[in-house]
Amino acid sequence: MPERQSDPKRLPNETPRPPGELEELERVWAYPPGWRKISEINNSLVGVIYIGAAFLFFLLAGVLALIMRVQLSHGDNRFIGQDLYNQIFTVHGTTMMFLFAVPVMEALGVILLPQMLAARDLPFPRLSAFAVWAYVIGGLVFFSTIFYGLSPSGGWFMYPPLTLTRFSPGDNADFWLLGIGFIEISAIAGAIEIIVGMLRTRPPGMTLDKMPLFGWSMLVFAAMIVFAFPAVILATMMLEIERSFGWPFFNAAQSGDPLLWQHLFWFFGHPEVYIIFLPAAGLVSMIVPTMAQRPLIGYRLIVVALIATGFFSFGLWVHHMFSTGIPALSLGFFSAASMAVAVPSGIQVFSWIATIASARDRFRLSTPSLFILGFLFIFAIGGLTGVMVAVVPFDLQAHDSYFVVAHFHYVLVGGMVFPLFATFYYWDPMISRNRLSERLGRYVFWLMFVGFNVAFFPMHVSGLLGMPRRVWTYPRAMGWDTLNMISTIGAFILALGVLVFVVDLFVRFRRDWETQRTQTNPWDAGTLEWLPSDLYSMRSVPIVTSRYPLWDQPNLAEDVAAGAYYLPNAATGRRETIVTSPIEARPEYLLEMPGPGWAHMFSAVFTAAFFLLLTVKAVAIALVCGALAVFATLVWCWQLDPPPRGRVEIGGGISLPTYMSGPSSHAWWAMIVLILVAGSLYITFVFSYLYLWTVSPQVWPVVGASPLPDLRWAASGASLMLLGILAFRMAERALPKPGSISLSAALLMIAGALCLIAGVGIEGYAQWRSGLRPGENAYGAMVYLEIVLTGQLVATVAVMTGFALARLFTGKLDAQRRVSFESAALLAYYTAAQGLLGFLLIYGFPRMLE
């Protein structure tokens, strides 16, 4: 076992604890009664709803897959028509990728991470709850379009020009663009929660080298979302703008380029594969040691592999575009990166195999273990075919054939669905009174394992025989009937396995909604989530001295449950958790957390309504809903940032402040992550701008001969941006003492926001005055897109400034209680910096070309 033992003689708090302390803790963390439970935001409830919704989407998309398999079971079949088939494969792929795979991993993060970290909850529980409701509503509405014939039919990657208005009239494609764009926002909200939670709510002593591997994988997963998802958000934004207003980003006839969509989509889409796989790998790294009853071999190697995979996955996007005519040397770079990523993936696989092989006694062959072994087998095949399609000449032959369909199902189902089912069986005792049946579990595994391989292995062959993807039927004379019939039979065997699981789940899953007391550590695992817990998570927050504390720290479970460790009570009389330093996990302050509420739910409902009504062009009602969403969000935020309540004792002679602002606060960290998202989006825009220039340099302006505003406009706009920064800096210093109001601070905040508004306004006016129009060509579209991107940030800063002003005048913002101002100011600084970069690009680049 690694590391050293704890000193059980020096526990932070004396036991037995005072009477009434536990009851107070239970009262603070109790769910609201009856139907009002849906206003609860505790991860133990929200996480279950999240997983339930994601699994529902898995089942729904699975039904669509069965319909497709029936249609393809033999040649010249007329079971369903071509257009419906196209809609079904589009919704199947979209649902599996956007509504199942990513959300279910975030859901597991929400439910498992606080337990693994022995935290009361993650730092932004309402944000999690908002993300869940937004996803549930948006997802259900998107999926329901299949029942009305309104689903998109351009494939889950929605390539233009097929998805431009000319070839995809109607609202079908818009449902995808606005619906998925909206759900991506929910995914980013989840990622912010996970990053800040992993880095700031670890228990004392849990340094980076003691983090559970699922935590590491979720950290890399969330970081990848931050950098990958903005690309698809920008792409969907551009395509929707082109469809609605005719700005030609992708239309080659107007100097746009459809390949730009592919670059942006796959810059997101390839990391997406690893975004799905890495958390699953983290889950495997948690289950394998338990079943082997020994620490994982190569912990540090796996951490390195997770980080390396996260990075390398961003250098692979063009391997989805090998056949698009990109120069061969560039393809060579991407081919090399595609092979390089196999190294860290291989490191993980060998670590798991080594741990299994060196199990103490014998590796336990329980249902979770079977799914892990199935995963290793299937994922290894998917990985090997992945190396095959990374070889350019082979890919040119296999591209868009069923070989690729087989490859990515082996990777995704093997790499994610099998570990997920292992997870269901492994962690089910943590949230349900009854365990799922081991006997039925074995049936489930074998049905799924055999069914999967029977369904998908023949697709390698049908692909090599020339069967293309996305065909709704094929002539009998092609000779693909037998292979397709075998695939169809396999699909139904696989579905039968899932059905047995669902039946078992209905029969045995029983959750006690009043308390979370369930079976304690039935697998004899070593990590913290198996400590005795309740709705408040653990009774006290332990000091961690090992990667497997339950194995290495004697009496840990008893001492934690007795309240002998930190924070055994509700010290402030409210929900709270300990915030620790990011590297060494030293207690820094006590975060007072919000309780149940409705504002975040209304915010989710109205935000969803805004996007969906926009889709069906009900603009007026959509705008009303948008305004209501902003209002609900402001109400939600108004309840945050509670006043400082001095210092409280958490045990061991440690007293922590109950309020924190500045770079140490969780709010500051969340804003930084949000700014990274905005920055990624903007860098993607800069790439798009430069890319379109390489495609159509002739439409870029020539100084003096075509629309290019005078440099004085840029100088004015840039000066205003700088003045905006200055005003916010001065406002920060002018914040009043607690209990007073500062008019100068208010005026400076208003001045700062107005400077930013004027800065971006001047840019729009200058371009319009010069005669440039966004619908004219790709150059005009990109220039105005830059204004839109900076403009939306300026609008957000304006709203946040108004919010800070309201708090200032109501005595809720001062030099001490200042988080609402800091958040607005941070975003203002970033917005100004982005604006300055925009001026440099829009005014500088064409002049540089001269």
Partner: protein, 129 residues
């Protein structure tokens, strides 16, 4: 070194630790961006008639990235002193960070070298169809 002086050993800031930890992959990413973007740009600017210059640029970029990675690895080894001089959790934590940094640099070096090899075998600016 006494216990008291060990405790006084300066701690590296969060930014420094993250910068070191991610230095390898970041250099790999910048190198990748440079060779992919640079090659595309040179082709657009009409340098396809000078394939040797493009090839040499890619190879030089690879060499420079590898040299930078070696430099960072040497700097990261300064952690070793901290590991030796610290005790308890701080030593384990520092050792972990140094180990992870060096391994990531190793993997990134392999990625850079592997990408650079393409320039030896594939002609610049030519498409496959």
């Amino acid at each position: 070194m006494s216990r008291a002086s060990k405790a006084e050993h300066p701690r590296w800031s969060l930014t420094t630790i993250i910068a070191f930890l991610l230095a390898g992959p970041i250099v790999w990413g910048l190198h990748f961006l440079f060779v992919y973007g640079g090659h595309t740009l040179m082709c657009v600017l009409g340098w396809s008639s000078e394939p040797q210059i493009i090839r040499a640029s890619v190879i030089v970029a690879g060499g420079a990235a590898l040299a930078l990675l070696v430099f960072i690895a040497r700097a990261a080894r300064r952690w070793r002193r901290y590991v030796v001089e610290s005790d308890g959790d701080a030593a384990l934590s520092a050792e972990f960070q140094m180990y992870a940094t060096l391994l990531l640099i190793l993997l990134s070096s392999a990625g850079v070298a592997w990408s650079s090899l393409a320039a030896f075998f594939i002609a610049p600016c030519q498409t496959l169809r």
